[in-house]
């Protein structure tokens, strides 16, 4: 992974000093809360319902065990002993005292971490495929480009006061595990017919109250032009994006209102002027950054592990874990292990300090010291020998982290909702908890198969409900929470926005309604191999709507 040199260290220390000065001015009353707000947001500090929240950047979701241990110690010393992994691969602490924040930032700087640009109307933490560098289907590792983009976008003097937040995601495989088409800029690293590296560039995707799938502006942008092209897109957006209405300020609205052709023309004109100049990626700089992400020293192993196969045969619990939480690795004899943060009846994405330390130990012992955070709010050990996975499983079980539900109905994405968030209109965590209790039976979950439920507690869609196979949106009417269901959304390479199936359900009804949708699917699928999404795409919403609303007339 990337390691700081003296320059990087100085940069982060200077930023901590700057923020410490801003906090001191707020605490002394020199800054009002209004004046302080954009300053603290730029450094990941939110004022939530009950306390300040600190969101820490985990660039492209990559952590070392040392970093994860430090996060655990912050959870213990400054929070209530746990943290929350987010859909942008970050970690947030919900119970932080403002006066502690500069000291926490100092501690983070000690392990090459920070909270820069985890909020505010700027370029946010760059996300990437959580299986990067490990996945069997990868054309190229997206992390070096994510790191180049992270550096370029850090305190960019031109793009710190954009009309609205701006999110980038990078993948290097045809299977999209980072939902790039729901981002302001989504990049897919690929090779052209000559073998040269470049990017498919998607612009203008986003969720929120006006969900849009990004447009593909370039099928193949040469590698060297990455920053010049991104700077061109950002400049057009900074100058032309709407600033009169924050709900229409994202780049997706600009692309939509300008029209794809005219928008592309504006970007191309700007790009033509920037191309071939200071921002061109020199090959040796790409190599220098790329070297940080070189593969660890994998052993030469047989593709099959007897130990692993025996555990699958003799231990049904391990077999279940292996079928859902172990993914194919590009190197024979290795596997990618997903650590579910979705145990029955718990808030999705939460981990205790003790659990973080357990994962850090496993990464150090079995996994080349690497941990990933997925946008689906789980943790990943990207490089584990198949021989070691049974032992990893036992250790995870002891830590309460072996839930074998990756990609299943209880692997729910949820925003914090009204329990924490000042923007929320309804609670979302309790709905996620109740769903996970309703579907707790593992045989049933495995029989249902691949199914992504995503829950947002307001129209801002932080829980990605628009791209849930089953999406749930919590709203409020006359003091009562109610929940709207969308069906058929997907954030992968065939990106679609879910369709609203009908009127909403009360908090008391929503879990039954989801169960009705799932039972309907089980009744109409052609075989257990036909996933919920495939079945929905085949039959459309009619059978589901009928099942949900027929009884009510």
């Amino acid at each position: 992974m990337y390691r700081y040199d003296e320059f990087d260290r100085t940069f982060v220390q200077e930023r901590v000093a700057e923020f410490r000065d801003q906090v001191a001015r707020r605490l002394s009353g020199e800054l009002t809360e209004d004046q302080f707000k954009p300053l603290r947001l730029m450094n990941g500090v939110y004022l939530q319902l009950h306390a300040y929240m600190l969101r820490i950047a985990i660039p492209y979701g990559t952590l070392s065990s040392r970093q994860l241990r430090l996060l655990a110690s912050i959870a213990r010393d400054h929070d209530k002993g746990y943290g929350h992994f987010t859909t942008r691969q970050n970690l947030q602490f919900n119970w932080i005292a403002l006066k502690d924040v500069p000291d926490i930032l100092d501690k983070l700087a000690g392990v090459e971490m920070h909270a820069i640009q985890t909020s505010g109307n700027c370029i946010r933490n760059v996300t990437a495929d959580h299986f990067a560098g490990a996945a069997a289907d990868e054309a190229a590792d997206p992390r070096p480009y994510a790191e180049i983009l992270r550096q370029w976008s850090s305190l960019h003097p031109e793009f710190t006061f954009l009309p609205r937040k701006f999110k980038l995601a990078v993948i290097g495989a045809p299977n999209d595990r980072a939902a790039i088409q729901t981002h302001d800029i989504g990049l897919q690293v690929k090779r052209d017919e000559t073998g040269s590296l470049g990017f498919a560039v998607y612009v203008g995707g986003g969720q929120g109250r006006t969900p849009m799938v990004a447009r593909k502006l370039r099928d193949f942008l040469p590698e060297a032009d990455l920053l010049a092209y991104c700077e061109a897109v950002l400049r057009v957006y900074n100058l032309e994006g709407r600033r009169d209405n924050k709900y229409k300020a994202r780049i997706k609205i600009l692309v939509h209102e300008t029209g794809e052709a005219a928008f592309t023309e504006a970007v191309d004109a700007e790009f033509a002027a920037l191309k071939g100049k200071a921002l061109t990626l020199p090959a040796d700089e790409v190599d220098r950054i790329g070297a940080y992400f070189a593969s660890p020293a994998f052993a030469s192993l047989p593709a099959q592990s007897d130990l692993y196969e025996r555990a699958v045969k003799t231990d049904p619990a391990f077999a279940r874990f292996a079928s859902r939480n172990v993914h194919p690795h590009k190197i024979p004899g290795y596997g990618i292990v997903t650590i579910s943060l979705k145990p029955t009846g718990q808030p999705p994405g939460d981990a205790t300090a003790t659990q973080m330390e357990a994962v850090a130990d496993l990464a150090a012992h079995y996994g080349f010291d690497e941990i990933r955070v997925s946008h689906e709010q789980n943790l990943v050990l990207p490089h584990v020998r198949l021989d070691d996975i049974p032992a990893v499983f036992e250790a995870l079980r002891a830590a309460g982290l072996a839930t074998p539900n990756a990609g299943l109905v209880t692997d729910i994405i949820s925003c914090p909702g009204l329990d924490y968030c000042s923007l929320a209109t309804a609670r979302s965590i309790p709905i996620a908890e109740r769903l996970s209790e309703r579907f707790a039976d593992l045989d049933r979950q495995h029989a249902i198969g691949e199914l992504k439920i995503k829950i947002s507690g307001c129209i801002n869609a932080c829980g990605h409900h628009h791209v849930g196979h089953i999406g749930i949106l919590g709203l409020e009417r006359k003091g009562e929470e109610f929940y709207q269901i969308t069906l058929g959304g997907s954030g992968d390479q065939i990106c679609t926005i879910g369709e609203i199936v009908g009127r909403g359900f009360s908090s008391g009804e929503i879990v039954d309604a989801v169960e009705t949708v799932i039972d309907t699917y089980l009744g109409l699928r052609t075989s257990p191999q036909e996933t919920f999404l495939a079945a929905y795409r085949r039959v459309g919403e009619a059978p589901f709507r009928e099942a949900l609303y027929a009884a009510a007339g």
């Binding site: 320059f7 200077e14 031109e158 793009f159 400049r235």
Partner: protein
């Protein structure tokens, strides 16, 4: 209004007539873009430098031909969170090679000063008392190490052979 220029507070040598007030007979004068376009010929005939005032939503297209002759461009920030002037400043410096004074006015606050200087502004029209005091007393704490080239190349150094790293001089 205090003018912070070239790293210190200086007297303003430019006159900016209010509204449609007649132009002073002599001396440096700057007018809003609309007036500049309307009175371009008369302004060209003056025996002293001329400047243009822009605001955040303005475009540069119709003044580009005049830039080599302009001595001052002022860009106003309607509020500090409006980021458009940064892009305008960079276009003026990098795209159009404007070398005259580039002044930020309006909601100019201490926490944005370092960004403004990097975007190509070299003068700040400061009204905010706290910012004036912080600049005077050299109390501005800002990041000096940068990951991207911007529009202050002449005043920044390269700390190592990496293509995009820059270090700016201390503000205080």
């Amino acid at each position: 209004m205090p003018l912070f220029r070239n790293g210190r507070f200086e007297d303003d040598d430019w006159q900016i007539p209010a509204g449609d007030a007649p132009l002073p007979a002599s001396g440096k004068v700057a007018v809003p873009k609309a007036r500049f376009l309307a009175e371009r010929e008369a302004l060209r005939g003056r025996n002293a430098p001329v400047g243009v005032l822009l605001t955040a939503g303005d475009t540069l297209d119709d003044i580009v031909p005049d830039l080599p002759r302009l001595g001052l461009v002022v860009i106003s920030f309607p509020k500090y969170a409006d980021g458009r002037p940064y892009s305008l400043a960079r276009l003026l410096r990098d795209r159009h090679g404007y070398v005259g004074e580039l002044r930020a006015s309006g909601d100019v606050l201490r926490d944005q000063v370092a960004l403004m200087l990097r975007a190509g502004f070299d003068a700040l029209d400061v009204t905010h008392a706290g910012t004036v005091a912080a600049l005077r007393e050299k109390r501005i704490v800002a990041v000096r190490h940068h990951y991207q080239p911007a529009s202050a190349e002449a005043s920044e150094t390269r700390p190592d052979p990496r293509p995009w790293r820059r270090v700016s001089a201390a503000l205080s």
